[in-house]
């Protein structure tokens, strides 16, 4: 996983607070994980984005996501709204045992 991020295990970054609701309107909504994943892919990923982003815009299956050290399944997954100083951890399970 680090390989995709230029061998950085940990990145502190500023993420836009809001994203446009859709391309046509000017209204914006607070950033969710759904926005974060493509944002990471286009801003932080160094190589092979297909190993991070899955076909449905979520992370590729086999990557676990933790939001402040809790399973993202408990936090609403893609719909989770990012808060200040949130810590999002991505763990790949796609390797040998």
């Amino acid at each position: 996983m680090e390989l995709l991020f230029d061998n950085q295990k940990s990145i502190q970054t500023d993420v836009p607070a809001t994203f446009p609701l859709d391309s046509s309107s000017n209204s914006r909504h607070p950033t969710t994980i759904r926005d974060l994943i493509p944002w990471i892919a286009s801003n932080l990923l160094k190589e092979r984005p297909e190993l991070f982003v899955g076909p449905n815009g979520s992370v590729r299956s086999g990557i676990l996501v933790l939001i402040n050290d809790a399973d993202w399944e408990l936090e609403g997954e893609l719909d989770y709204v990012l808060q200040n100083e949130d810590e999002i951890v991505f763990i790949s399970t796609l390797h040998g045992g």
């Binding site: 390989l3 295990k9 399973d71 045992g97």
Partner: protein
């Protein structure tokens, strides 16, 4: 994309902290948006009602939704449940006896690291009385295994478990780097897998252990069940589903290998929980994919499995269960005799053939015929024996008569099935020629009915034609046959239909 920084919305606003912080040494995975080493695991803010309370203790914030049950658990309850379930698996299946010496197959990856940690913990907690050792195989893959073995060495020190590393280079004279240089990246996993299985046996004998445990988890097993069903490989289906295998040799002369048990204590443990356990326990594991294995087939099985799981939460256990049910029904059906395990006549280690696959592959490497043993082993064994260039022991003979009763369907897919050498040569020639026939027919796009028939008949065998590429002599013979057959086909002669059965027809 503009980065909006303001007090209301920015998700990270620590002034002065750079965009990239130093590498984390302890935690696996990539951390984004964090520089602190103290994760906020609990909602310590008193007063507020607890969001997502743990389903068991109700007092702490849950950190994990269990894939098996959907239960929400806090960290401590998760640890307890995880460890207890593995303990129950061990006890219910009578995996160990007091005083057993047990080797943990350790790669440094998540599964084996968690396995070593949990076994050590349970051995102390429940007083199993086991003598644990770590056993690692060094395949000789620079930039992958050398790094992961460093992890195992740290585990050895952290858990105070002795470690033995056996290397392919020492056992076979070839490291995986050497093999890949020789044969290229295709098919190298065949060598690696076959050698690893035997290397574990050899290491276990060196360590004088009673038992080898491996970190195969529920997801792995479900994937393997799917793959074996798709390949129709019933013997392997049976072996991959059983939690404990004893490769018993019927032969009284069987050497020590026959006494060594193998088991998978994580058979019912989900990969997600293993990874989460390792993460929350801050276990030191190595997480890089092997540089030589894109492993496409398993990858597809895996994606399919994940998709199934999204629709049906219990998919993984369901598939393991159906694998068990299928292999049980295979056992119950007396007409389908599965090959019995015996020992290799050359190296003396466990094998389902007279000559084990490791020896066959090794001979190929040493003779500069690395394709030997890849693809349809039994055919090549026969061919090689017939050829006379190999030692006589290479040909499978009729000594193991029970194996001859293997149902015909197995002959096509399973390298475990053997055949009487008496009828080998004519059948062989026909099959070979049919491959090329089918290939040619496909290439030429001949619309003729007979050519299509041939293509269909040869379809099953097409993939096995690859190993013969390098053998100029055979190619020559085949081309000759092919031309003759093509001529025969054009002149309207009947061609036999159906894969293995056509041997009888013709």
């Amino acid at each position: 994309m503009a980065t909006i920084l303001n007090e209301a919305g920015s998700t990270r606003s620590e002034p002065g902290s750079g965009s990239g912080s130093g590498p984390h040494t302890s935690a696996p995975g990539s951390r984004l948006g964090s520089g602190s080493d103290t994760p906020r695991s609990k909602n310590a803010t008193s007063g507020k009602p607890l969001r997502n309370p743990c389903n068991i203790c109700q007092t702490v914030r849950a950190i994990l939704k269990r894939p098996k049950t959907g239960q929400q658990l806090c960290k401590d309850c998760f640890f307890h449940v995880f460890e207890t379930e593995i303990h129950n698996t061990i006890v219910d299946n009578h995996l160990f006896n007091r005083g057993n010496r047990v080797a943990i197959g350790a790669s440094g990856g998540k599964d084996s690291t968690v396995l070593a940690y949990v076994l050590k913990l349970l051995n102390d907690r429940y007083e199993y009385g086991l003598d644990l050792v770590l056993l690692s195989i060094d395949e000789g893959i620079t930039g992958y295994r050398d790094d992961s073995l460093e992890t195992v060495k740290r585990n050895r020190d952290q858990y105070q478990i002795p470690l033995l590393i056996v290397s392919y280079k020492d056992l076979y004279g070839w490291s995986m780097d050497d093999i890949v240089r020789e044969i290229g990246r295709k098919n190298n996993c065949t060598f690696c897998g076959v050698f690893r299985r035997q290397a574990l046996d050899r290491g276990a004998i060196m360590l004088n252990v009673d038992h080898i445990v491996t970190g195969h988890n529920a997801d792995d097993i479900a994937e393997t069940v799917l793959m074996n069903i798709l390949r129709g490989d019933l013997p392997r289906l049976q072996r991959c589903t059983s939690i404990i295998t004893n490769d018993t040799s019927d032969d009284s002369s069987g050497i020590e290998t026959s006494k060594i048990l193998r088991s998978k204590p994580f058979k019912y443990t989900y990969e997600k929980e293993i990874v989460m356990y390792a993460y929350f326990k801050k276990l030191d594991y190595f997480s890089t994919e092997c540089i030589y294995s894109p492993n496409a087939y398993r990858g597809h099985a895996r994606v399919f499995l994940k998709d199934l799981e999204a629709v049906r939460r219990t998919a993984i256990v369901d598939i393991i269960h159906s694998g068990e049910a299928l292999s049980a029904s295979v056992q119950a059906n007396e007409s389908t005799k599965l090959p019995t395990m015996s020992t290799c006549t050359r190296c003396g280690y466990i094998s389902s053939n007279e000559l084990c696959k490791a020896c066959l592959l090794l001979e190929g490497l040493n003779k500069g015929l690395p394709q030997l043993g890849i693809g349809h082993t039994s055919k090549i064994r026969r061919m090689h024996g017939k050829d006379g260039s190999g030692t006589s022991s290479l040909s499978t003979t009729t000594t193991n008569s029970p194996e001859l009763q293997v149902a015909p369907t197995f002959k096509a897919g399973s390298p475990l099935a053997t055949e009487s050498s008496g009828q080998a040569s004519p059948a062989e020639v026909k099959i070979l020629h049919k491959n090329v026939m089918a290939n040619k027919a496909a290439k030429a796009q001949k619309p003729s009915k007979t050519a299509k028939k041939a293509a269909r008949a040869g379809l099953q065998d097409i993939k096995y034609s690859a190993p013969f590429k390098d053998m100029a002599l055979y190619t020559f013979v085949l081309v000759t046959f092919c031309v003759w057959r093509l001529y025969a086909a054009v002149s309207g002669q009947h061609l036999g239909m159906g894969g293995p059965n056509s041997k009888e027809n013709e």
